[in-house]
Symmetry: C2
Subunit: 314 residues, 2 copies
Amino acid sequence: MQTVSQLFNIQYPIVQGGMIWCSGWRLAAAVSNGGGLGLIGSGSMNPDLLLEHVRKCKTATNNPFGVNIPLLFGHAESFLQICVDEKVPVVFTSAGNPMKYTAHLKSHGIKVAHVVANTRGAVKCAEADVDAVVAEGFEAGGHNGKEETTTMVLIPTIRQAIDLPVIAAGGIATGRGMLAAMALGANGVQIGSRFVASNESSAHPLFKQRVAEASEGDTKLMMKKLVAVRLLRNPFAEKVEAMELEGASREALAELLGRGRAGKGMFEGDMEEGELEIGQASGIISEVKPAAEIIREIVAEYETARKELKELTP
Amino acid sequence: MQTVSQLFNIQYPIVQGGMIWCSGWRLAAAVSNGGGLGLIGSGSMNPDLLLEHVRKCKTATNNPFGVNIPLLFGHAESFLQICVDEKVPVVFTSAGNPMKYTAHLKSHGIKVAHVVANTRGAVKCAEADVDAVVAEGFEAGGHNGKEETTTMVLIPTIRQAIDLPVIAAGGIATGRGMLAAMALGANGVQIGSRFVASNESSAHPLFKQRVAEASEGDTKLMMKKLVAVRLLRNPFAEKVEAMELEGASREALAELLGRGRAGKGMFEGDMEEGELEIGQASGIISEVKPAAEIIREIVAEYETARKELKELTP
């Protein structure tokens, strides 16, 4: 099996998660220049904007980068076409069926990874012949699976179920977290929240600050009747929580959510009424810093922690 | 800082979780004889029964063992007295305030660990001067915390917050899981579900079989309005799930639960109407085997996986 570094032609098997509102060309290029794989998160873009970001990313880095495309979104087909036309080397697909576009993308020389939150999805990825699977645990930010399986359990079960590179996601923000994921059998990691709180992320400065200040217990997986999403505690999230305790219907939740709340919060900086998507790893993050420095720190901590792991039977 | 092995005077820093209905003297002694620390789970016992189990455990092993005592249970004070009178070397307390009894137990030479599910609880443990903290993540079976923090995130945050040995629990059933926990900064592990499916556990054979057969996604954290508990999917759990989707009250859930359901399921073998407490790690477990063999396999896999962890920058 190819390593994740070989597969994507990168220095470290560290992928920056493609996140709505937070990961445009600046972040993707900074991560790719830092030795990881940067992803442009297309979920909050229209086709013109994605095209602009892809082109800017190409001028900002000579290293491979990718685009994350949620397949259930209306613009998915246009996004895929842009990636083909612009010769984007890597596409991460999510929220949809990997059978639909994988062969098409691969026929254009694009490496394809698909994001799943359960073992069933991983098996489907293998059938679709993707190049790698992102296995995302319950602790991850943003949209999430119904099974609520955590990274600790998801990685070994998916590792056992398929014979493809597995990229662990959810709860990973440090070198120790990466080492734990590799110990569980992952071949690489996808890191989201840690890069939200980077200089180059397009998150609003107030949101970056909230992420850096967040403590353990400050996020919650909510709106499970609609689409499960992990949110940072704020007045909006508390409203959702109160409604859910009363058994609010899918329709009532959709009405409360309305449209555009994620952008309002994460991009425009409304910390009260915005939808603030972030992972549990926000509890481990305490400082906004450059993406390349984040990667250097993760790699250094990984190596130190690896050497510290002692024998059980000395 | 003492290692967990030094602290408890055991060969491997592997603790068998003290679980209601599943961990009597046979399992505790088998684990302690196998080089780990076996715990008698007192939560489903009365004082006479606990005394009997403690005495039988002492004759069945010459190695240290312990008793897990949920402090909020009615018999807690009698249980603590039994541990003092019988010179039980180790007590794990849970579900209550560690300030209350730690000094008393330590004055009798007993080593004390306390189980927490959040960082706040860990800091309280340090104030109470316990000997070690068990940090139990969202993926663990049975009763669980409100914060829903997973092992992947809980271990590093607690590691950073306190200067005491941290024993990781939740989602750990294999040597790779143990290695991941140690990579995150834990000093040892507490393993529950894996030992439920052991020859020596007092779980009903039908429950052991269900645990071995369970797949990823087969458990769920439920009854959060009452006391959050992770259950294996069965007709009873499905009833709870349906009621919770409708916003059922604490009272309605308590009425549905009634009394004695845990014993009915896990001990008497009613797989339909019993309350089947088990962790997400049940998805990784596929065979019932002797406790000592489980420990040998965990240690061997840990060592193999440790050696396989590669440098990121070769």
